[in-house]
Each structure stands twice: as C-alpha cells, then as structure tokens.
C-alpha cells in the first residue's frame, strides 16, 4: 500500500495510450464474450443465427453508406462540371440534415448492440481531455457518422473528378465540414441528454417527433398528389430559396471555400467562418461534457437512495384497507380480486405513460390521412388497411407483458395468487388497448369512406383482426414468459434489448408482419375467384384456431411461469 507521506498529487501521469488501449481491449472482450455467453448457455442455434444475421446485415448497412456516397458524389460532380457551383451548398446542407437526422433518431445498430455507457468510465482517473477524445472515438462506427463521412467523401471525389484543381481545397474543407457535423451530432446528443433528463420532457419530445413525422407524411402525400414536374419545380425553387439562407451557414461557407477560387481572400474568409463555426460547436459540446465529467446529475428529482422514507404506518393501513375492500364481494368489480387488482395496476401504469398514449394516437392520425386519399374510394381495402395498420404499432405490448414490472414480478411468484390470473389480467389490459385502437381506426375508416363498407368486408376484417390479435397474443404471452426483457420506465432513452431478444427478434417480427400481411394473398384470392366471402371462410377458422390456441396456453401459463421463473427473475430482477 502507498504510504501517507507521499505527495497527494502524483508526480507522473498515466500514459494516455495505456488507458485508451485498456478501454479498447475491454470493449473487444465485451463484444467477444457476447458470443461466448450464448455458446456457453447452450444457445448454439441462437449464436449461429446471430452470426448469420450479422453477416447478412453488413451488406445492407454498407449500402446505406455506399448509396449516399455515390449519390452525393454524382450531384457534386454534376454541380461543378455543369458550372452550377451554387448547388453545392444545398447538397452539403442536405448531407448535414441527413447526418443529424439519423444521429438524433438513434437509428444506430451499434448503439442497440452495445450495453456500454461511456459515463461509467468517469470513476477512473481519466483527465477531461482523454474523456473528450473517448466520447468522440466511441461513436465513430455509428451509422450516422459512417453515412455522413461516406457522403462527404463521395462529394470530395465528385468535385475532384469534375475539376481536379479544386481537389486539395475540397479535401481540406470537407474534412473540416465533416468534423463540424461530427461535433454537432455529439453536441446535440449531450445537450438533448440534458434537456430530456426528465421523463415528461422526453414524452413531450416524443410527441413533437410524432407530429413531425405526421407532417412529413402529409407533405409527402401532397407532393405525390401533384404531377411529377410540379414536385421537381417545387424542389428546384426550394433549393434556390435555401441558397440565400445557406450562404450564412456552414454549408454555404464550405461550398464557397471550395468554389470561389477566383477570389482567394473571399475563399479564405469563408473557410475561416467555417473553422469558427466548428470551434463554437466543439466548445458547446466540450462545455456540456465537462459538466458531466464533473459529476452533473441529470435525472429528475433526487436519486432514489436520497429520498427520505415517509412515515409508513398510515400508508400501510390505508393500503390494507383498500385491499380488504377489493376482496369484498360488494366491491365495484365483478372480476376475481387478483385480476381486478392487476388490471387496476396496469391502468395506473398506462395513465402515467404518455409515450403509450402517443403510440396510440400517432397511427390513428396516419389512418386519418390515408383514409382521405385514394383508399377512401375502395372501402373494402380501406377498412382492413386502416385497422391492420393501427394495431400493428401496438403489437409490441403483447410480447413483453412482465417487462415494465421489473423486480416487482417477484410479487406474483410470492403471492398466493394463480399465475394464470395474472397473465390473463395483463392480456386483458393489452388486448383492451388494441381493441380500442382497432375500434377507433374502424370508425375513422367508416366515416371517411366515400361509400358504405359492405357487410362481407366488415365480417372479413373482424375475423382477420381476431386472428391477428389472438395469434400475436398467444405467441406474445409465450415469449413474455420465456424471454422477458426489463423495461426501464424512468430511463427509456437508455433502454436496451435483452440478449435473448436479439436472436429471436426476427422470428417475432416475422410472426407479427406475417399475420398482418396474410391479408394480401387472401385479398388476391378473393379477387381471383371473384368471391369476397372467401376471406371470411379463411379468416374465421383461423381466428377460432388462434383463440383455441390461446385458451390452451392460458391453461398452461401457471406451469410455464414456474418452469421459467429462474429466467424471469434473472432478466427482470437484475441491475
């Protein structure tokens, strides 16, 4: 042990390479151990599936990088070779928007596969400079960065092919512009983490994002509703108008730095403005990160451990009082006490979950938009389309019914209740949401259809929806028991999929989409045989079979939960 008469401040520093290599090695081991854990736990099939999926995934991801790179390269080449340098600024602006859009939305495969939080390194003796570098390096392989760098590389190549004399300037300027975008995305991330620290703020942001997507969809429908040339004209006008604005923004500075070669001083000034913007954005990023480095606490309220316990006795008394009332045969609910208590708890959870309400409203808004389009003239297609689309977004609620309970799931295992009743209550709660959603979508479709929806179409849609719901309810309940995944309500932004959900996730998606998309071939068959009743004859037995399967599963639920209780406890009760 060190002696106390040593100076408190170390005379030498830990080499940066030691710490950076240690972190790189640790990340590698975590990655490798992820495979090893599956192999050790006997999930060889899962391991093989994971490797195969990743092998298949990489070419798709590569296309996401290569596609924009080629597109940007071609546009840059066209702009320079056809003497339209003013088109470079909108191109660079578009790349920046795309970069930030992908980054903000977190469409990041790397992030979803990672369980590593860089803030966990703060307790080690790191200097701020190293932490800053680490935060920049750790996200370099995210799709947003790769797509952005790829597109700017393509732009540089396109400019160089069109005019070789611009190549040196293009490389330097676009490298700085890439750094600016990298810093900007990181700055947005750390500031958003600050602003969205409270759940309410996150929910409001989610709502705004949903409205943005709806707006985008409306815009998309409006532009597609016109002739193609109208759309092109609009885009050209928009690009020209945006040029005036972009002149005073980094895309304009970067573009002019490259193309205004006739006036070196002007070009240098533009480049200086670009550097200044980069420095300001970097400073804003570093400032916020420094706050985090010093130990800023972001979440709402005080940490759990610091909130003093309130006087417990009267609360217990009141709680027991209510529980006794719930068991009373004269209580308002006619349901068995366990089911009634579970339903009440699910309702309390739902009431406080604005995200869930947004998830319900958003598809309905889309249904409203779709119903006013060409589908309104074909009510036999509009109805299944609207209802199927509306319930699709909520299907996930069937697949992880214990997730939000976390460690509280132990209560179900400890309490003298029938686990079948608990499952049934949770299923009733989830199904109620889906049925409400389906009914609302049905109403919207019925109101906005230009003609009454034929009875046969309504019967077909009803049996189809029953089939979808009970198929997914059965599979979802089975999966909820066999592969639960903890859902952090307080920190949904850091929610990670459970290890088990990665390998079998595609199978679940296949069931969800497969059951919904079954409508397509059945519709085709109806048209082919010119018999709309065929859909009813197909879906009604399927629905009956799905309901029967669910009933069988429900009977087995008790035994299933007891069989999988170790896994349930391991996944939901851990940190």
């Amino acid at each position: 042990m060190a002696q106390l008469n040593e100076p408190p401040v170390a005379a030498y520093d830990i080499p940066a390479s030691t710490q950076l290599l240690a972190i790189a090695w640790m990340r590698w081991r975590m990655f490798a151990n992820g495979f090893r854990r599956q192999a050790n736990s006997g999930k060889v099939a899962g391991l093989v599936l994971t490797i195969v999926l990743r092998i298949l995934l990489w070419p798709i991801l590569a296309m996401w990088v290569i596609g924009p790179a080629f597109g940007a390269g071609f546009m840059a080449w066209a702009a320079v070779s056809r003497h339209h340098p003013e088109r470079l600024a909108p191109l660079l602006g578009g790349i920046a928007i795309g970069w930030q859009f992908v980054a903000v939305n977190g469409v990041s495969i790397a992030a979803t596969m990672s369980t590593f939080d860089p803030a966990s390194l703060l307790r080690y003796p790191l200097r701020f400079g190293r932490y800053l570098v680490l935060r920049l390096l750790l996200g370099l392989l995210t799709p947003s960065t790769m797509i952005g760098f790829g597109a700017l590389f393509g732009t540089a190549v396109g400019i160089a092919i069109a005019n070789l004399s611009l190549a040196p300037a293009a490389v330097v300027v676009l490298a700085v512009y890439a750094l600016l975008n990298l810093f900007f995305s990181r700055m947005i991330a750390v500031w958003m983490e600050r602003w969205l620290a409270t759940r309410r703020a996150r929910e409001i942001f989610g709502g705004l994002l949903a409205l943005f997507f709806i707006g985008l969809q409306v815009f998309n429908m409006r532009t597609h509703g016109h002739r193609h040339s109208d759309t092109s004209d609009w885009l050209v006008n928009f690009a020209q108008a945006s040029n005036h604005v972009l002149d005073f923004l980094p895309p304009g500075f970067a573009s002019h730095s490259i193309t205004v070669t006739a006036h070196p001083l002007s070009s240098l000034l533009q480049f200086a403005a670009l550097l200044a913007c980069t420095a300001v954005i970097f400073a804003a990023f570093a400032y916020r990160l420094h706050k985090q480095f010093l130990g800023e606490y972001l979440a709402e309220g005080a940490p759990r451990s610091t909130v003093a316990a309130k006087r417990p006795a009267p609360a217990i008394e009141r709680h027991l009082d209510r529980a006794q009332h719930a068991e009373s045969p004269h209580a308002g609910f006619a349901l068995p006490p366990t089911i009634a208590a579970c339903l009440r708890k699910e309702w309390v959870y739902l009431r406080g979950n604005t995200n869930q309400l947004i998830a319900m409203i958003t598809p309905l808004a889309f249904v409203f938009i779709f119903s006013r389009g060409i589908l309104a003239h074909h009510p036999q297609y509009l109805l299944p389309g609207a209802v199927g689309y509306a319930v699709l977004g909520l299907m996930a609620t069937l697949y992880n019914v214990f997730g939000a309970d976390g460690a509280g799931v132990q209560l179900y295992l400890l309490a003298p209740v029938r686990l079948r009743d608990v499952v049934l209550a949770k299923n009733i709660a989830s199904m109620s949401l889906l049925l409400v959603e389906a009914t609302l979508a049905w109403t919207v479709a019925a109101v906005l259809a230009t003609a009454p929806i034929p009875l046969v179409a309504q019967l077909s849609a009803a049996s189809w929806i029953l089939f979808i719901l009970f198929t997914n309810l059965t599979v979802g309940t089975l999966r909820s028991i066999q592969a639960p995944s903890k859902i952090s309500i307080a920190q949904t932004r850091r929610m990670r999929p459970a290890p088990a959900s990665k390998t079998s996730g595609l199978i679940v998606l296949a069931i969800v989409f497969g059951s919904v998309l079954l409508q397509v071939p059945v519709t085709f068959l109806c048209r082919y045989f010119n018999n709309p009743w065929l859909a009813v004859w197909i879906f009604a037995p399927l629905a009956a079979a799905a309901i029967a399967a669910y009933a069988v599963l429900l009977q087995q639920a008790e035994q299933l939960i007891l069989t999988y209780r170790d896994r349930i406890a391991q996944e939901l009760c851990g940190d």
């Binding site: 060190a2 830990i14 080499p15 240690a22 090695w25 703060l122 003796p125 010093l294 003093a308 006087r311």
Partner: protein
C-alpha cells in the same frame, strides 16, 4: 499531516430537495470511519461527491490535502471505491475486469497480472474464470467490486455497504483485509446499516440525518455525549447511540406500534 477527507459546507440539492446540507466532515488519515444514517439520509450522495461522481451544489472537498475538483484525476488514482450498485462491467469475466481496472489506474501489465491473480485467489473467485460477471451471485459481485477497489493500492477507500449480501466467511476475510489496510496507514470511509460491524471495525463515526451531519467523533466521544441523557448504568451500544441521536422523538423512525396491532 493533512486530513484524509475534509469537507466544508458541503451541500447538494436536487431541485427543491436538499440531500446533503452544509456538511463539515473531517476524517483524519489512517482512520476507519463509519458513516451512518437512516435510509435516505444522504450517505450515498455524500460518498458520490467525495469520490468525484457527483458535483456538489456548493462547498468544498479536500482529499489528502488537495482540492478534489481541481485535482480530480490525480486524486482518483489515490482512492478506491465500491460504489452503490457496484457498477461492474457485466460482460467481462472477473479476471478481465480486474485487468482492465488495473490498467486504467496505470499499473503495468506484470503488476496487474500478479495482483489480479492474488485478488481472485484471496476472494475465492479464482475458479470462476469462465463465468461472466453478470452471471455472478450478488455476494461474488460484491467481492469482485472490493477487489477492483483495492487493486491499485489506494490511500483512501470508500465502501458503500460493502458487506451487504456477502456470506459470513467472506465477510470475515474482508474485515481482516480492511484491518490490515488500516494498519498500513490507509483511510477507510465506510457506510453500513449493520451497526454491529461498524462498532467492531470503525474507530470514528459520523452520523448524517436528513442531509445534516448531526454527530461526529470517536465512539467513546459519541457515547459520552449521549450518556448525559441516559441513566449511565451501562455503556451504550452503537445502536443505542444511533437511535438516541437520530431516532429520538422522530416519528418517521418509530412508527406507533398500535397501528399494526392486527399483525399478532
């Protein structure tokens, strides 16, 4: 010799809630210091601030005579921490984790390897090399967190509930390890709800209640302070001292028994 830990008017607020309020704490070098308080009193928040994981709203922290905010990286090399929740990397094995921690604290490879092997052996974790940390039991994780906290030979050790979930045999081993560290001049700052352990191990005690430091000193000093109010017939245990200081007249800590009369 400077105090190992010294805070001046240390305060931390979360919105309207003051978790730690104007705490002036002094822990001399080489002390085994027990930091006590009821649930939610501000113990973990204080430890987080003392280890640089949480910024104080106001006040200063000096560790080994140096300001923590100004010398964060240097002082983190001198301290070891078992934080609340342990904060382990679950997808590493125990030896991988200790190697990583050793390198992060600047130990060379040979020393890291040697200490990793010794610590795993000492903590009875040597046979678990193929198991990932996430698959460890709570007690095993606690032992690993302790091993990681001492691998670099810290001069000040912060332990937040170190014996929680650890079996009696391991707890005995850990206690003797901590006492040997004290004998070598290390300062240990410990929180625990098990007052018997604190009474047996610690020489000095600080008691925090509703964010305020309500008592500080050696156990004898605290006993003497409380005995004035007692009958003085027998030496008070730490539990009696604690309840006298914190629990006296506090309804939150002494719920009226008659309200739960249905229990019997």
């Amino acid at each position: 010799m400077p105090a190992a830990i010294e805070t001046t008017s240390l305060t931390r607020r979360f919105g309207d809630f003051t978790a730690v309020d104007q705490v002036n704490l002094t822990v001399e070098a080489g002390q085994f210091f027990g930091f006590l308080g009821p649930n939610g009193a501000g113990k973990s928040t204080t430890i987080k601030m003392l280890t640089g994981l949480l910024a104080p709203t106001s006040g200063t922290i000096r560790v080994l005579g140096a300001d923590l905010t100004q010398n964060s990286a240097e002082l983190k090399r001198q301290i070891g921490v078992v934080p609340e929740g342990m904060a382990l990397f679950g997808r590493l094995t125990a030896s991988e984790y200790l190697r990583f921690v050793g390198r992060m604290y600047g130990l060379d490879k040979a020393t890291t390897e040697q200490r990793t092997a010794e610590l795993l052996d000492f903590m009875n974790l040597a046979g678990e090399d193929k198991k990932l940390v996430t698959d460890f039991s709570h007690g095993m994780q606690k032992k690993l967190a302790l091993a990681a906290a001492v691998i670099h030979g810290p001069r000040v050790l912060f332990l937040d509930e170190p014996f929680e979930g650890v079996d009696a045999i391991a707890a005995g081993t850990l206690k003797s390890m901590l006492q040997r560290m004290i004998a070598r001049g290390v300062t240990i700052f410990l929180t625990s709800h098990v007052l018997e352990i604190v009474e047996r191990l610690c020489t000095h005690i600080g008691i925090i209640h509703r964010g305020q430091l309500v008592a500080q000193g050696s156990i004898d000093q605290l006993r003497a302070g409380v005995a004035r109010h007692g009958d003085g017939t027998a030496p008070l245990t730490l539990e009696q001292i604690f309840l006298e200081i914190v629990g006296g007249g506090d309804q939150a800590l002494t719920p009226p028994e008659q309200e739960l009369s249905w229990l019997s």
